[in-house]
Symmetry: C2
Subunit: 328 residues, 2 copies
């Protein structure tokens, strides 16, 4: 019997919890410990044998963990945590601040290379699977246009924005791809589309008692950057309805390339996701790429890597023979 890949999780928010679920579905992996900044005693882990450990004790686990899944946020956690942990462990993270990826890569690459570790950064679906499809579609169809649509999905930033409006007690915002725009892209017309032409925004708002709903609706719809440029819909609902119908974190989207070959033949390449749970899916991608980090590290391929550097076979638990025979 081959031994299992031993994983640790840093951070026990939605992503970390999703990682626990994903590891349960992976017979070739085992979870050793969850590392937290909170009191480890406060973590409720219902998996036998898995320890909750304070994050400051992680260095004691270098011999017991093959790959560390970094499940913190991109704003403040990962810029610090990935370089820190990549000096001790192979890592996988979901750093998704697109504009800062080059400097993040540099910082992680330096540490990981120096300490002979493999650190796969910016894993998930965007960045991640969507990134792979943008690159592959363009490599295969050099003449054409690539479009990314997001949604239907709960947007954390926009939900925060509507909740700051006066008179709003609670609320959520969904980003929804504009069906007309998608159909135009799928037709091969390669239209010019702004982000606001590609998406509409739908809000579900619980107003405070006696609040001026018309004023709330107006303030949301005219909010610069967030809503003013978009086709925005505002719905008022009760606190009960919000809890009942809007407590999940669905997301998804589309990458579509309209390419042309030969005498103007349209070739439409499309990748899409429709996710009931964004954090659980992102965590599932992290766990699959942990397999790749483990294997790359065994091949002495150290340093920072992205999904672009990882061949598909590295994320699959199946053997090369099996893949050729049953999946090709």
């Amino acid at each position: 019997m081959t031994s299992k890949i031993r994983l640790g999780i840093v951070g026990y928010g939605n992503l970390g919890k999703g990682a626990v679920e994903a590891i349960k579905q992976s017979p070739d992996m085992e979870l050793v410990a969850v590392f937290t900044r909170r009191d480890p005693e406060s973590l409720v882990l219902d998996i036998p044998g898995v320890k909750a450990v304070h994050i400051s004790d992680a260095s004691d686990y270098q011999a017991e963990i093959d790959v560390m899944l970094l499940c913190g946020g991109s704003a403040t956690d990962l810029p610090e945590q990935t370089p820190h942990f990549a000096s001790m462990f192979n890592t996988v993270d979901s750093f998704d601040t697109h504009a800062k990826i080059p400097e993040f890569y540099q910082a992680v690459n330096e540490v990981a290379t120096k300490h002979n570790k493999t650190a796969i950064i910016s894993v998930g679906w965007d960045p991640g699977l969507f990134s792979i499809n943008r690159v592959m579609a363009e490599a295969i169809l050099p003449s054409g246009e690539t479009y990314t649509f997001w949604g239907k999905g709960l947007s954390q930033g926009h939900s925060d924005a509507v909740r700051r409006v006066e008179g709003v007690k609670n609320g959520v915002q969904y980003t929804i791809p504009a069906e007309q725009a998608i159909e135009k892209v799928r037709s091969g017309a390669n239209p010019e589309l702004t982000t606001s032409e590609k998406h509409r925004r739908v809000c579900y708002i619980v107003a405070e008692d006696g609040a001026d709903k018309a004023a709330i609706e107006n303030e949301i719809k005219t909010m610069p950057n967030y809503f003013a440029d978009y086709d925005t819909e505002v719905n008022f609902i009760s606190a009960e309805e919000l809890a009942r119908d809007h407590s999940k974190a669905p997301h998804g989207g589309f990458v579509i390339r309209g390419g042309n070959t030969g005498e103007n033949n349209n070739q439409i390449y499309e990748f899409s996701l429709k996710l009931d749970s964004n954090p659980e899916f992102t965590a599932s991608v992290l766990v699959a790429y942990a397999r790749a980090a483990y294997r790359l590290s065994n091949e002495n391929q150290f340093g920072a890597k992205t999904v672009y550097d990882v061949a598909p076979s590295y994320i699959s638990p199946r053997s090369a023979e099996e893949l050729r025979r049953d999946y090709l």
Copy 2:
């Protein structure tokens, strides 16, 4: 200036012609020669500097060609040609007889390894891009079901079959995915579906003068293996209509995985292609993977490879820095 990747093409049918078109769209590549079993003088190549050469003289071009695109058929050409050419060149082919891939891989791997060549086999969209998506979707979502639908596409084998029916002068057959089945899969229901439940078949037939159309329709619809198990539609049209409306080779299809994570959250992963020209698209994939064959060979990664062994960055003309900055 970096020098271009120098390509040769073996076989000048629809796939070889598609490869010429794809190379024209790739500024980092140049076509050196097309090799043919026919009289090279008979080839009409409208590209300056590109030679038409008899296939038996290919060995003279080992110093001039970095990667050879093998554009023959899977039934008889490639089982002979790939092992032959992989002793002299890095190669890419589109071998698509699924059941024979393991033995084909063995034969090619032996030759390519011995001669320090890189041979990427079974490249295209199925096998090829669809294969990648079947493996990645399952690796990410271990719990679930994967479905492959083909079409709308012209099926060569089924078109040949209808043309053999008595009274049929000419005809074509399209395989069309059953919309209801796709919708069921997209809903996350993970239904059990046979190939015949996933597809329907539509024929456009030109009957001979005075032929018994009812008999033709009946013979097609009851033909074992090909049509009997399917929802089959037979349309009679004129020779002019056939020439006008059915002379292209469209194809495409869908790979969909309905996965589950955590407490029964549905996660739908979908990849699809809608192609005006099947051979031009397949050739475009071959040309992109020729880039990978060239790079792998430069890294001394010799032997037979499949799309599972190729990281996305290897097929892109862009640098790793560019990909991280602009595409991740």
